[in-house]
Point group: C2
Chain length 557, copies 2
């Protein structure tokens, strides 16, 4: 072993830091390993905290993976909690540390240093921000505080500031605790990593579950009774009663320590590292939420702080810091989140992101059954796929629905890793039996639909584009080709109705001088209708991708 009796110091004791420590010990039985963290707890499952608050996970101990004595006795790793690293002297290879319990100053010489300082919630400097019962959720202590307050039974109304992943997980878990929840989001959509059309499906689901979602509105101040506890959230357009507030507008990487030591910060404001997790300073690595990564679709720097990435980075840094070689090539922005009965996932680029990156894109939205349609419990999922037109390579996917989403996201993430084309995805030999998938899995169906659009075999238009055309007052025919019963149960305002099986014989009823956009329930019959009209010699025709299932702008009867 190369580094016997050498000293590895790790700053940070949660996901990336402790993973690095444990892996370093497995790689090197004799290296001295010290972890310093300013926190009281280490190695906890931060991502489980919303479910602890929601009482889905009953005991906070379940979130504590390991404690310091375990690391000492089992792995001979020294873990110093409540010890804050205050400075790194990269010349003398020393970390200055303050014992937060007694104020004592310490210093550790290192041979190798891994920085895993994580990230912290962004707290906007708004009037009233320091009132009581305004919480952030980042550490176990945060979670315990929020849980205790909810347990007290004093919370009737909660306002969640920020409609990202943590905000929505908290919305669900507070509703489970009987609290009336309002989510306030400054942008014009929740879930900013998703396209607005897909996010709107989730927003409608939140509304169905009783969560009030306010978009395009920002918090201006917090007001409190007697000036001590928050009672009201003042936004640009509203006054919202609030017994508690969860601030979840975002996080920022903890980079001050690194920056002060002359370690290079990347374009994303996280610590710049190469694929061995090395910073610009020899023998110093950075991992986890404080470290930058590369987006595997764009090849550009990306900062996407997730526990899954932290664990992989920690492992790679540990191998390199103990004399081995391993690389971490990057991320895909893969995400999954449960919001009530809905599963929401993404991998790669959204349509908006892809366009911003300069790709010439084609996209589709395809609803499909998660298992064989005849198998009990089959549920719909709605898949949006985005591809690069010149290469037919997949760029990303967003999937929402009550059915199984995570499986399809992982298939897409794996395909994106290898630069798969839409055509390759459509031929994947995925596992098929009725309890698990349709004979052509939902992602294969979606890839085929997108392939047809890429080849110009069909011309589809996304529901959002149709709504925009309508809002602009454009003159076009929206043709509903569902059955009479389906049409009566709710249709898009202003649509014309001809059932698919009558369409060929009733084509003459259509005003051929206008653009025609067909729709049905899920898009399949709309595409069939598209072909019937094309074959009837009508040229200016499109079908609506995803149709009613992806239409979030209301129906009339």
């Amino acid at each position: 072993m190369v580094y016997e009796s050498k000293h590895l110091v790790i700053i940070g004791g949660v996901a990336a830091g402790m993973k690095a420590a444990a892996k370093a010990r497995r790689e090197s039985p004799t290296m001295k390993i010290t972890v310093v963290t300013d926190e009281e707890y280490i190695s906890y499952a931060g991502c489980g905290m919303p479910y602890f608050i929601g009482d889905i996970i009953k005991d906070s101990k379940k979130l504590l993976v390991r404690e310091p004595p375990y690391f000492k006795s089992m792995h001979n790793i020294d873990v110093l909690t409540r010890h804050q690293a205050t400075a790194i002297d990269t010349k003398s290879k020393q970390v200055k540390v303050k014992n937060l319990e007694n104020g004592q100053d310490l210093a550790f010489n290192y041979d190798k240093l891994i920085i895993a300082t994580g990230a912290q919630p962004i707290i906007p400097p708004l009037p009233g921000i320091s009132l009581g019962n305004i919480f952030t959720l980042r550490t176990i202590n945060d979670a315990v505080k929020i849980k205790s307050f909810v347990d007290s039974g004093k919370v009737t109304n909660a306002v969640i500031v920020g409609g990202g992943l943590i905000g929505l997980e908290m919305a669900e878990n507070l509703v489970l605790r009987g609290i009336k929840v309002t989510v306030v989001e400054l942008l014009d959509q929740i879930l900013p990593p998703l396209d607005k059309d897909m996010a709107q499906i989730v927003q409608n689901h939140l509304s169905e579950k009783g969560v009030e979602v306010v978009t395009s509105d920002g918090v201006k101040s917090f007001e409190g009774e007697g000036g001590s506890y928050v009672t009201k959230v003042i936004t640009g357009k509203r006054q919202l009663p609030a017994d508690m507030v969860i601030l979840s507008i975002g996080i920022k990487p903890n980079t001050k320590l690194a920056q002060d030591a002359g370690i290079e910060i990347g374009a994303t404001r996280a610590i710049k590292v190469n694929d061995r997790m090395e910073t610009n300073i020899p023998d110093i690595y950075a991992v986890g939420d404080c470290a930058e990564s590369i987006h595997l679709v764009t090849g550009k720097p990306a900062w996407i702080a997730l526990g899954s990435t932290a664990a992989k980075m920690g492992r790679v840094a540990a191998i390199n810091a103990t004399g081995g070689i391993d690389t971490f090539k990057g991320v895909l922005g893969t995400l999954i989140v449960k919001v009530f009965d809905m599963n929401i996932g993404k991998a790669g680029l959204s349509e908006r992101e892809a366009i911003k990156e300069g790709f010439k894109i084609e996209s589709t939205i395809v609803p499909a059954s998660d298992v064989a349609h005849y198998y009990p419990g089959a549920k719909d999922i709605i898949i949006k796929l985005i591809a690069d037109v010149p290469t037919r390579k997949l760029l990303g996917a967003e999937i929402v629905g009550t059915g199984v989403v995570d499986k399809r996201i992982d298939i897409i993430a794996t395909a994106l890793t290898f630069g798969a084309t839409v055509d390759q995805v459509s031929k994947l030999d995925l596992a098929y039996a009725p309890p698990y998938a349709m004979s052509m899995d939902a992602v294969i169906v979606a890839a085929n639909v997108l392939g047809n659009k890429l080849s110009g075999k069909t011309v589809g238009v996304l529901p959002q584009r149709v709504a925009e055309k309508r809002d602009r007052g454009e003159d076009f025919i929206l043709l509903d080709v569902r059955t009479e019963m389906e049409y009566q149960s709710g249709h898009i305002k202003g649509s014309q109705h001809i059932p698919l099986d009558k369409l060929a014989s009733r084509v003459h009823e259509l005003n051929k001088s206008k653009e025609i956009i067909t729709y049905c329930r899920a898009g399949l019959r709309a595409a069939q209708a598209y072909r019937i009209l094309k074959n009837a010699g009508i040229s200016n025709v499109k079908y609506m991708d995803g149709s009613i299932l992806a239409w979030t702008y209301g129906l009339e009867k």
Copy 2:
């Protein structure tokens, strides 16, 4: 359109045939399309039939996707049921057809011909094989017959001959109907595509569910009361009472029609096709269960009849037969099957298959939680990964367990499609949130374990190898490093016990002249113990992959 007014004839009306017909119509609005099938029903969901018999799917109509009038009115496709193709004249491009209802002989000229004649159950020529209540399950009529007989309430004992996928699905569904089921398998394991060690885990689960599983025993004859209905199955070693028998020893491709016409048959005895699904005769394609494919891992011909492959092949043939270009590169032998509470899946090669193909392989078995271990409902899955030593490429995976298996199989299948190494799999940016996965997904954990073995960082030995060593009477120490309580609850016979946290201080208790194999519950502590012993200077040490969770040879208290 190139083929307007030309005639596409398709022989076969189930998955591949009807998919080809529907897709051909979408590609060519005017081509004449005729489907002939000797069956009464078309376009049915054959894979759902066991669940129809088990009353999970209540109505056989649910399995009928579409009927002939639908194809005529919606797609202008002529579907002739109960019409058997009797000969293909490839010179004059004509298919001879017999109307099975009235015996009339017909002939259809074709411009393009797609053969989708499917496969049929193998029926061994055993004494008593033609007795009543001996069934095969291939068509809707088969399913309706079996269901009716089960519904009659006359079935107490059923014998299933063949322990493959259909056999086990039928075992579950007959047990659900209150029937005592015995599965008889000639091989020394059920589920022949799997390795024996993984199949044994499933076999134990079947036993727990009350299914008697008999392996290494073949049926010799069937006996019947009064010579009309089966009452007994006579095997090499047993006499089994049987009110009904399901024959599911395998299927064979229906190739006689093709072969008689001079169409080339491949090494697998299915119809040989290229990646455009073309046979050796111009303008004739073959798709679905009668067609051969290429195994994407070996590059060699493979015949793996599955509905998912049939649909993709049908689509590709339709595109090519209508003047387009599409290719189907091959399959991975991906499978998934539900057997009671257990999900069983495979993609790529088993260890046995990989060795037979001449690969120098390394493998591991890794149990892991399907979702975050602290999230309610977390369940174990057991993953076996097989890799090629020189290239570190993944060759295959088998996964069994009560947790989510299909997702991980599909990840592996996608990775195998692109020739992924174990290291690439271990870095996949898979979707992580507590309800869906561990922060490092189970497949990533398994890939890391296999990576360590490939790099020689650890030396693991599969439970099956340990059992074989023991059976050969080899002298070695089996070291249980679990807690006292775990050890007392059941351990491997003859094992020595030192809890992991005491191991470093009690190394002297071990006889260092013997080979030592460590084990725990799932393999993680066994690997830690392995490292402790290595660091203590003991060289002849290994750990048992998967440990107790993958040990199927019984425990003692």
